[in-house]
């Protein structure tokens, strides 16, 4: 498991200034971008295909293959997805903050490979510090002539705009991201088309890639596809970042080779469970992923296939660990609450179903649960994600809705008795049982952003005045 760090190497070796252009160039930065200018689109696409680089945004789709789908129409656009909002995930934050030039170079390479002359980095609004670092890096790159007109003295132009989100997880979904960038509501678009590479930003061919994905590109170019695939003998090539959180002794981001097991990750790398408690369950790939339990999954390899075969996914690489003192109903409620809060509201099943599930779980946790409630929750989930199958059979436009049922699957498969006991004992016996404090879904979640009915009222006043005239 000894393996060179790639995307986190510079920040590890030079913590104090890994984000500056001087350090970046002093450690070989921007050489690959220069080289890319001498290569053809085909060379680059083939190289990246051959490297087996998988998207790190959650869908784990081959980056090179996606590039090869780019439709011929021009202009084409590139959008870097830095909306990182999936509970448990904080890897992109570190890459943005600690090594922004690495991403900028990756962007230049991707742009050249896809004949893009205007790229965007979409960073979630709650990440002002990472956004500041990226803007600083972009400004430096412009000054040096690495961005703008005729980059690196070539005749290739590339504009790069840093765009700040407004607080909406769904804007991480690539078509919602594009709508958001167009100044529309961040609602996912209808599929087909399945890839923005066909029709994306302003209805033009668009590549959407994750921050970590493009941060790998300078390394892939420098070591070559073979060098990169050679790093590990697992099916998935290269390294990947995992965000470890919850009840482990050493939470944090870890850049790892594919092919280690969950036991290695949680007990070795993560230093085991706090206060030597027992491991009860973990979420293997961000809040969307169905949960794993030690009895079944501890020795599975951490690869795309192995995880999928076990009915879950690596998703955004976020691992959330829960110890024996964790109330599974409360944990489920919290994950479901997230999705109901973040639902864009387009699809009936997601909009109504996620809220309904949240309310059912809260009732159970707070002691008003009924014997029928778990089965009701399973039925409701069924309406969002048919048969609770994996991968989900969605009744919705995008996978957010179906993601909300993962905790229900966990309760059904592993923790039914815990739910029943909540019902039987009229509530929760775990420490710090939930008070009915959390925002209730049927009332505006943050009154700060919701002035519902004011519009109506004032136009009502206006009209009644009108009537009097």
């Amino acid at each position: 498991m000894t393996m060179p760090l790639l995307v986190t190497k510079r920040m590890t070796d030079h913590p104090a200034d890994s984000h500056t252009i001087d350090r970046y160039e002093a450690t070989g930065g921007y050489e690959q971008a220069r080289r890319a200018l001498t290569l053809t689109r085909d060379d680059l696409v083939e190289e990246v295909k051959a490297s087996g680089l998988l998207g790190r945004g959650g869908a784990a789709f081959s980056a090179g293959l996606k590039w090869s789908f780019l439709a011929p129409a021009r202009p084409s656009y590139l959008v870097i997805n830095g909306d990182e909002s999936e509970p448990g995930t904080f890897k992109d934050r570190q890459l943005l903050e600690r090594d922004p030039h690495q991403m900028v170079e990756g962007i230049i390479i991707t742009a050249i490979a896809n004949e893009v002359h205007h790229a965007f980095v979409y960073i979630r609004g709650e990440y002002p510090k990472p956004a500041r670092r990226v803007q600083q890096a972009v400004d430096e790159a412009y000054e040096k002539g690495y961005l703008g007109q005729g980059i690196f003295g070539s005749d290739y132009d590339l504009e790069l705009t840093v765009h700040l989100g407004g607080g909406a997880y769904i804007c991480g979904e690539e078509t919602a991201l594009i709508n958001s960038l167009e100044g529309l509501r961040g609602e996912p678009r209808l599929k087909p088309p399945y890839f923005p590479a066909a029709k994306g930003l302003y209805m033009m061919p668009t590549i959407v890639n994750n921050v970590e994905t493009v941060s790998n590109l300078p390394h892939i170019l420098s070591m070559g596809a073979t060098g990169y695939t050679g790093l590990t003998d697992s099916a998935d090539t290269g390294t990947f970042m995992m965000s470890l959180s919850g009840h482990v002794n050493r939470p944090g981001n870890y850049e790892l080779p594919h092919g280690i097991t969950w036991r290695d990750l949680i007990f070795d790398i993560g230093g085991g469970i706090r206060d030597d408690k027992e491991l009860k369950a973990w979420i293997p790939g961000g809040a969307s992923a169905p949960w794993f339990v030690p009895e079944k999954h501890l020795d599975l390899e951490i690869t795309k296939e192995a995880t999928a075969a076990a009915g879950s996914m690596l998703g955004s690489g976020a691992v959330i660990v829960m110890d024996e003192d964790t109330c599974m109903v409360r944990a489920a409620e919290r994950v479901v609450r997230f999705f109901s809060h973040e639902s864009c509201g387009q699809c009936t099943p997601c909009r109504e179903g996620t809220t309904w599930l949240e309310m059912i779980l809260r009732r159970i946790e707070e002691g008003q649960g009924r014997a029928v409630d778990l089965d009701l929750a399973i039925d409701v989930s069924d309406g969002i994600s048919i048969d609770l199958a994996w991968p989900p059979k969605m009744t919705t436009i995008c996978p957010l809705g179906p993601s909300a049922v993962s905790p229900i699957i966990a309760l059904r498969d592993h923790f039914r008795d815990e739910v029943d006991r909540h019902v039987a004992e009229g509530g929760c016996w775990f420490p710090g049982a939930m008070k009915s404090g959390g925002a209730t879904p049927q009332t505006p979640r943050s009154p700060l952003v919701t002035i519902s009915s004011t519009a109506g009222r004032s136009s009502q006043e206006r009209l009644s005045e009108g009537d009097r005239e």
Partner: protein, 207 residues
């Protein structure tokens, strides 16, 4: 016929010039509108509508989709406590209740002086340093209920012109998601993100 300051109008022009189509500038312009008036007013949305060539109803439709465009009077310090799964597992709810209790401001509300607004939020990407709190989106990781109370009192007493993530992390933070390595000047002056193109990054010196 704009009622924005000349400086803000100049920023608006610059921001719009960064996008192929002006409607794309609606989100940054909404932040400008907030920076101009402390929160997003109807006048602010009407102004943005003119800049982007759409109707106020369309601007409202976009603004109301997101959580960070505050359309109600908001305090000078917006305290956001994460209660999503990872923070909740490590006591995020207790931190929230400590903040609510110490400030006397419940979730989603603002005190009478217009100093503090409190809200609980979904995951803010600090799960490795849970529980996490943000003040005007400047992050503090590894916050305990006790530290949270100190934070509230500090904001009330010191009334810092600029809130800076590194300073607050040192005063009230604990374990972090990763090594922040260095400290930096500069931070936020209101309940909107501190970001260069918005002209909202300030240092104590500036103010």
């Amino acid at each position: 016929m704009s009622h924005w300051s000349e400086a803000t109008q100049e920023r608006a022009r610059q921001i719009i010039s960064r996008y192929p189509e002006k409607r794309s500038a609606v989100m940054p312009l909404l932040y400008l509108a907030m920076a101009e008036e402390g929160h997003l007013t109807n006048e602010g949305m009407e102004e943005v509508a003119v800049w982007c060539g759409i109707t106020p109803a369309q601007v409202q439709s976009v603004a109301s989709f997101y959580t960070m465009y505050k359309r109600e009077r908001t305090g000078r310090y917006l305290v956001s406590c994460c209660t999503s799964i990872s923070c909740m597992l490590l006591g995020g709810d207790d931190v929230l209740h400590a903040v609510e209790d110490e400030s006397g401001v419940p979730h989603g509300e603002t005190d009478d002086e217009g100093l503090l607004s409190v809200e609980h939020v979904e995951c803010i990407g600090a799960c490795g340093g849970a529980p996490a709190v943000q003040v005007n989106y400047e992050l503090i990781e590894g916050v305990t209920p006790e530290k949270a109370r100190e934070l509230v009192n500090w904001l009330k007493k010191a009334k810092p012109e600029v809130v800076n993530t590194d300073e607050m992390q040192q005063l009230f933070g604990g374990g972090r998601s990763f090594d922040w390595a260095i400290t930096e000047e500069g931070g936020a002056v209101g309940p909107y993100p501190a970001f260069q193109p918005l002209g909202t990054v300030k240092t104590e010196a500036d103010s």
